[in-house]
């Protein structure tokens, strides 16, 4: 498995996803080696962890150094041709190197040792290790693109890597549709796998709202509080709504990477553990997800699994897709629709609870680990039978 960062402490969506899959593959009897970098920070890619071989439970982890930390000024300069919509092939390579993590020794390992592995699963199409590494072991490559709608995901080199993969495992049908819009038809064996969602049913976290002193109804935001996640727009929409309707607070569960408005009805709890998070979700009026760039959204699926509807930005096709398929979410296009939807959910508790039940059924039907791992197993069988022998 190739992934840009790896470790128990990392909470990023794709990295967490990769680790969950790796652990389950190992539990199913596969010998799993994770090829990753020494970086923990996805902005700088600074080498913070020692290079070399390590164990993470049943997993063998090989960490490779990153050639250079990200220089934000150079990265922004390399992004300019893409943002202007006009770029050359050389611009693509320059952007990928500047974006990082650029780890030539990881690619070299694939070149020299790639045939040792029956299958190589690449997580995240966006980054250099996949774009430059997948073509090296194309005959045994499985790609989990975790593709977002963003300028840096429109490169021909990414289309090349996608086209060379032996099998593609998408998170959602909307992610696949985005790939088709960006790169053209994807003529590769593929399936929509997603992840399994585990939510405790033993009442763990039930006391969380009381322990955080939450006595009023609330909308929950779960995740990194970050402008890139749409939190600025969320604060604007919530404050506009709260001037008209004062029945609910906004509760933020996650570390803040931006200033949180000082307002009596916005509560920032900081990081909360998973049991407490699920307890908070169960008691929320709705979980709000304002992020445009999602390939899956675990927060949405965990909320639905907890029986709580989602209130999502309509700018994310993935979130709108979950809302529509589950019948358990409302999509808003602007602050006015956000406020109207929040008020409706408060006005109609019966409908809200029915939406929650629909949401639980949606997750139970689609996002079970046995289903997901069966798809990974099929992909590995298929690829390893096709791969060139060493």
């Amino acid at each position: 498995m190739v992934v840009v960062r790896f470790g128990e402490r990392l909470t990023g969506g794709a990295e967490l996803h990769a680790r969950q899959v790796a652990l389950r593959l190992a539990a199913a009897g596969h010998e799993v080696t994770v090829l990753t970098t020494c970086a923990e920070d996805y902005v700088s890619w600074a080498d913070q962890l020692p290079a070399g071989e390590h164990r993470d439970g049943s997993l063998r982890v090989l960490r490779f150094p990153v050639l250079a930390e990200r220089d934000l000024a150079r990265w922004e300069a390399a992004m300019q041709p893409i943002l202007r919509g006009r770029w050359s092939d050389a611009d693509e390579e320059a952007l990928l190197r500047e974006q990082g993590p650029d780890s030539p020794t990881l690619i070299e390992h694939l070149r020299e040792q790639g045939t040792v592995y029956d299958a190589v699963i690449f997580f995240t199409l966006l980054y250099a290790p996949t774009v430059f590494g997948l073509p090296v072991v194309w005959d045994r490559a499985i790609l989990v693109p975790t593709l977002h709608d963003e300028p840096a995901a429109m490169l021909d080199l990414q289309a090349r890597a996608l086209g060379l993969a032996r099998f593609v495992l998408w998170n959602t049908p909307e992610e696949r549709a985005l790939a088709e819009r960006l790169y053209g038809a994807v003529d590769v064996p593929q399936a929509v796998a997603g992840v399994g969602i585990d939510v405790a049913t033993d009442g763990a976290g039930r006391e969380a709202p009381a322990s955080f002193g939450l006595e009023r109804p609330y909308l929950l935001y779960a995740g990194r509080v970050d402008p890139d996640k749409g939190c600025g727009e969320l604060f604007d929409a919530f404050l506009a709504w709260s001037a008209r309707d004062t029945r609910a607070d906004l509760v933020l569960a996650g570390r803040a990477w931006m200033d949180v408005p000082s307002h009596p009805r916005i509560r920032h709890l900081g990081f909360v553990d998973q049991a407490d998070l699920h307890g908070l979700m169960r008691s929320a009026v709705a979980t709000v997800i304002p992020s445009r760039n999602e390939s899956l959204s675990m927060a949405a699926l965990e909320s639905l699994a907890c029986g709580t509807p989602i209130l999502v930005t309509a700018e994310s096709p993935v979130l709108s897709g979950h809302a529509r398929r589950s019948s358990a979410g409302l999509a808003y296009r602007d602050a006015a629709e956000f406020g109207v939807a929040a008020s409706l959910l408060l006005d109609r508790p019966d409908e809200r609870h029915a939406m929650g039940r629909d949401g639980s059924r949606y997750v139970a039907a689609n996002f079970r680990w046995d289903r997901v791992m069966a798809l990974y197993g099929d992909a590995i069988d298929r690829v390893s039978h096709l791969a060139l022998s060493a």
Binding site: P81, L83, G85, R86, W87, S88, W138, D139, D149, E150, P151, M154, D156, A159, R160, G163, L164, T172, P173, R181, L182, Q190, A191, V192, A193, G194, R292, A314, E315, A323, R324, R325, S326, S327, A328, G329, L330, A331, Y332, R333, D334, A336, E337, G339, V340, A341, L344, E351, A354, M355, R357, D358, R361, Y362, A365, N366, L375, L386, L388, S389
Partner: protein, 135 residues
């Protein structure tokens, strides 16, 4: 719940809530709140445009030189000449610019097709190697 095709996500087929009706109600009430104005639509991602477009449009004026340029009487004469030739030069440069843009689009289309063929050639070369080794 109908049987799921392998590797696809399905919605629930007997929801307790008529979500479409609820969503439509949200849209209608929000529109009233906006005074009848529709919501702004999101934008689709930008696609790659031909690099050649940067130089497609040409101007009838010479590129600015490094010097301070003409001054006084010379500038007045230059302006007069430009004004006098405007009726003739501008349509010509507009047509040349239009032609350049069309050429740039064709070059970009060819580049995209070549790129796709290169990918396919790479894949087929790999398949051939694979078959050779198996024989």
């Amino acid at each position: 719940m109908p049987e799921r095709p392998a590797g696809e996500l399905l919605g629930i087929d007997d929801p307790e809530v008529d979500l479409q009706a609820l969503q439509a109600e949200v849209r209608t009430l929000a529109r009233r709140l906006r005074g009848g104005e529709p919501a702004a639509d999101g934008t689709l991602p930008r696609r790659r445009e031909p690099v050649l477009l940067d130089t497609a449009d040409i101007t009838p004026y010479p590129a600015p030189s490094g010097g301070g340029g003409p001054g006084g009487a010379a500038l007045a004469v230059q302006r007069s000449v430009r004004r006098a030739l405007r009726w003739y030069l501008w349509p010509v440069t507009a047509r040349v610019g239009s032609h350049n843009r069309a050429v740039a689009e064709v070059v970009e289309t060819q580049r995209r097709e070549l790129s796709a063929m290169r990918r396919e050639a790479e894949r087929l070369a790999g398949e051939t190697t694979l078959l050779d080794r198996r024989l």
